[in-house]
Amino acid sequence: GQQVMQIPQYQHVQEGEDFTTYCNSSTTLSNIQWYKQRPGGHPVFLIQLVKSGEVKKQKRLTFQFGEAKKNSSLHITATQTTDVGTYFCAVLRTGANNLFFGTGTRLTVIP
């Protein structure tokens, strides 16, 4: 069954607008990771969240881990054309051996 739900599946924004993608799990997570894949490229690791309620920032990107460790969000402030790509969350369920990747959110930025 579905282990992680990532929404939205697609998002088109005007350059300068904000963007948020969400990752939701029905089970408690040990950690969650976020990856970015540019069109035609390979996934690249962005960040890992481990603690309940954790918030981390990378320039215009803000990552948050929910208090219950079942969900996470990635927020981009003032999008740029360089932000185009698909953003994946990858979750490690408590007691599991491997990461499970969400289906991704494909972001298009309109100049």
């Binding site: 040990s30 990771q33 390979h42 996934p43 690791f45 994946f88 990461l99 991704g104």
Partner: protein, 112 residues
């Protein structure tokens, strides 16, 4: 990252043929992974390896075989290719269980 390389980058073959995709990493990472990426499915784990000579099935292992005789290499073989195995295949490695993964550039495989 040049630390993990996949070959070939592109491959076209016919149904029933055997195909081997190569993956080589220079970081001495313990864990290595094979994923396939299809539209609407994201990345699905085929097989993984925790160390040399230790491999285990992932989410979609049927039709695939792996081996890991050396830490740095993790080849993936399709013993008798089928059209449903047309996909982009990514190899990845990580230092440990659940740790961030580093991906190769991928192999785009088409089976006619």
């Amino acid at each position: 990252d040049a630390g993990i390389t996949q070959s070939p980058r592109y491959k076209i073959t016919e149904t029933g043929r055997q195909v081997t995709l190569m993956c080589h990493q220079t970081w001495s990472h313990s864990y290595m992974f094979w994923y396939r990426q299809d539209l609407g499915h994201g990345l699905r784990l085929i097989y993984y390896s925790a160390a040399a000579d230790i491999t285990d099935k992932g989410e979609v292992p049927d039709g695939y075989v792996v081996s890991r005789s050396k830490t740095e290499n993790f080849p993936l073989t399709l013993e008798s290719a089928t059209r449903s195995q047309t996909s982009v295949y990514f190899c990845a490695s990580s230092r440990g269980q659940g740790q961030p993964q580093h991906f190769g550039d991928g192999t785009r495989l088409s089976i006619l």
